[in-house]
């Protein structure tokens, strides 16, 4: 039985034989430390190269549209907070702008400026979270801490303004819930100085960091044509060199009275998306300063008893006030029958609303065009053929927010 003895030296045939390999399917998520929110990616790997990526979403689906169809227009506002929960004010105001367009309502000038200030504050918060988390997941924990510290300062101001950190519920059809608290503007200005300083720290830690740039430059690339095809908007589209910012193209609220530059990228990779966010924070800070400076005095909500609740002394003092209050609370605002599509520029891109009213006090249909949904659909295209490690920064820079993507 000598021929059964084991010979450890491989023969030439064995050495040159084709190695049997098989693609491996790896599940990332739904709960994974490097994935924001609950999203599952089924990734087919050939070694470390991604052959195919299938994104599965819906773990955070709450029935946003169905809920909105069964409550009054005003009662929809708290639901919109929970779409992009990092920048709730932008969702509030975006939804209200669409409702006002459907009614054909012009809001007071002061309310327009406060909407700009609120939206830009939350744009800074959103971008800080995105860049901070990007640093965190690439190993730069300090950058995340600086970013979140700055975001906390902004959340404090938002709390003073709205009474809540995240679920703001601040806007109302025809304007705003209430005016700015006394001395709030000065506090914001002081906060912005601090935020500027902290953003400087974040970008000093990341922008020229060798490890960071190596992981971000040239990864997660998408061409402008593909980006448009998928429906990319916001920073992710501008990173490809497409100049589309609804604040400039179709100015709403008070944006036409303020000066700002649209940050642009060129390569459509993770690094450009990061840089755009950093630049946009600076632009937003300047926008808030201008808006606080130019903001006129006056009412913050339209003086129309069919739309806005009467002031409390009127409710308790006059029969007309009681009636208006009662009808608005019980029946809701009577939005005329019709349909409208309106869009504003949220932190991640075009936040569009298709609203349909049948003339009753409740929406017949509320469609939200969440920017994140369309960007997430393009992730497969951005990472296929690239390394698994590229998925992490790509997933960070598109800034997917479960609340708006999964409605």
């Amino acid at each position: 039985m000598a021929h059964d003895e084991y010979d450890p030296t491989p023969s030439n045939d064995e050495l040159e034989a084709h190695l049997q390999t098989r693609n491996m399917v790896v599940n990332l998520g739904p709960s994974h430390p490097a994935m924001h929110g609950t999203v599952r990616m089924k990734v087919e790997l050939d070694g470390e190269t991604i052959v195919k990526a299938d994104t599965e979403i819906g773990f955070l689906h709450r029935g946003f549209q169905k809920s909105c169809e069964n409550v009054t227009w005003t009662q929809c506002i708290p639901y919109t907070d929970r779409l992009n929960y990092v920048s709730a004010l932008m969702n509030n105001f975006g939804f209200l702008s669409a409702v006002e367009k459907l009614i054909g309502l012009e809001i007071p000038e002061r309310a327009k400026f406060i909407r700009v200030i609120g939206a830009e504050l939350h744009r800074i918060a959103d971008h800080l979270t995105a860049t901070g988390a990007l640093g965190l997941e690439l190993g730069a924990f300090a950058a995340f801490l600086y970013g979140i510290e700055a975001r906390e300062l902004i959340q404090d101001r938002v709390t003073e303004l709205t009474g809540a950190r995240l679920t703001t519920n601040y806007g109302r059809v025809g304007g705003l819930n209430r005016d700015l608290p006394p001395g709030w503007g000065d506090k914001v200005l002081r906060t912005l100085t601090k935020v500027e300083e902290l953003c400087g720290e974040v970008s000093a830690l990341l922008t020229h960091n060798r490890i960071f740039t190596d992981r971000c430059r040239g990864t997660g690339v998408i061409t402008a044509t593909d980006a448009l095809d998928f429906g990319f908007t916001g920073p992710c589209l501008r990173a490809c060199g497409v100049n589309l910012d609804l604040r400039k193209q179709k100015p709403y609220w008070a944006y036409d009275q303020l000066k700002f530059e649209v940050a642009m990228g060129k390569n459509g990779d993770n690094y450009d998306r990061y840089l755009i966010r950093v630049k946009e924070i600076a632009e937003s800070i300047s926008l808030i300063r201008q808006a606080l400076d130019k903001m006129p005095e006056g009412p913050v909500i339209v003086d129309d008893r069919r739309i806005a609740l009467p002031p409390k002394d009127e409710v308790y003092g006059t029969i007309e006030g009681v009636m208006a209050h009662f009808k608005l609370v019980m029946e809701g605002i009577q939005v005329p029958a019709g349909e409208v599509y309106d869009a504003t520029e949220a932190a991640n891109g075009e936040l569009g609303w298709y609203l349909r009213s049948d003339g009753s006090g409740r929406p017949y249909k509320v469609h939200v065009r969440a920017p994140g949904f369309h960007i997430l659909s393009g992730v497969g295209k951005m990472i296929e053929g690239r390394m698994l490690a590229d998925l992490i920064p790509t997933f960070d820079t598109i800034n997917m927010i479960g609340g708006e993507v999964e409605q």
Partner: protein, 174 residues
């Protein structure tokens, strides 16, 4: 808002546009024939409406004009002209399907899956029409107006572990 795209669509694709109207805010809408939507999308893309904005459906069951039952909405945007284009297709309950535009605009892939998921409108030729946000065993289409607000779904059996492909090795499916 101009009617440029709608006029071009009428000229280049006769019979595709069934109706044109303006909504309350003065925006123009075009109603496209059901089977012509894929061709219309091609024309629209050639006209420079390269950004796929959004897609959704409306169930008109409780509206005064309730037949045909569904509206499928399409939104595109042109960078050169700086305007949105609003199109819709009317789909009846019996013929609840229309051609996919997935191969014209890649973004329509997920949007059509979402429309199928919530309204049960089929897109022919899509090829991968799985549910988008809900699970495969879900019964019905929840954004239809006849789906009750507080409807409950039956419990579904847990999927066997064999369904998950575990990669090389013998534990999974070969």
């Amino acid at each position: 808002m101009s009617t440029y795209a709608l006029e071009q669509l009428e000229a280049r694709l006769p019979g595709a546009l069934e109706q044109r109207y303006q909504d309350r805010a003065g925006d123009h809408w075009g109603v496209v024939a059901r089977l012509k939507i894929a061709d219309a999308a091609k024309v629209v893309k050639e006209l420079g409406y390269t950004l796929f904005v959004s897609m959704d459906c409306v169930d008109r069951l409780h509206l005064p004009e309730s037949t045909p039952r569904f509206e499928v909405l399409y939104f595109f945007y042109s960078l050169e002209r700086n305007e949105h284009l609003r199109l819709k297709v009317l789909v009846s309950e019996d013929e609840c399907e229309l051609p996919t535009i997935r191969f014209v605009y890649q973004g329509a892939n997920w949007a059509e899956r979402l429309a199928w998921d919530f309204y049960g409108v089929r897109f022919t030729g899509h090829g991968d029409l799985r549910r988008m946000l809900l699970y495969e065993e879900f019964q019905g289409h929840p954004l239809r107006k006849d789906y009750a607000m507080r409807d409950r779904q039956p419990l579904i059996p847990e999927r066997p572990i064999k369904d998950i492909f575990r990669g090389p090795g013998t534990s999974g499916v070969s």
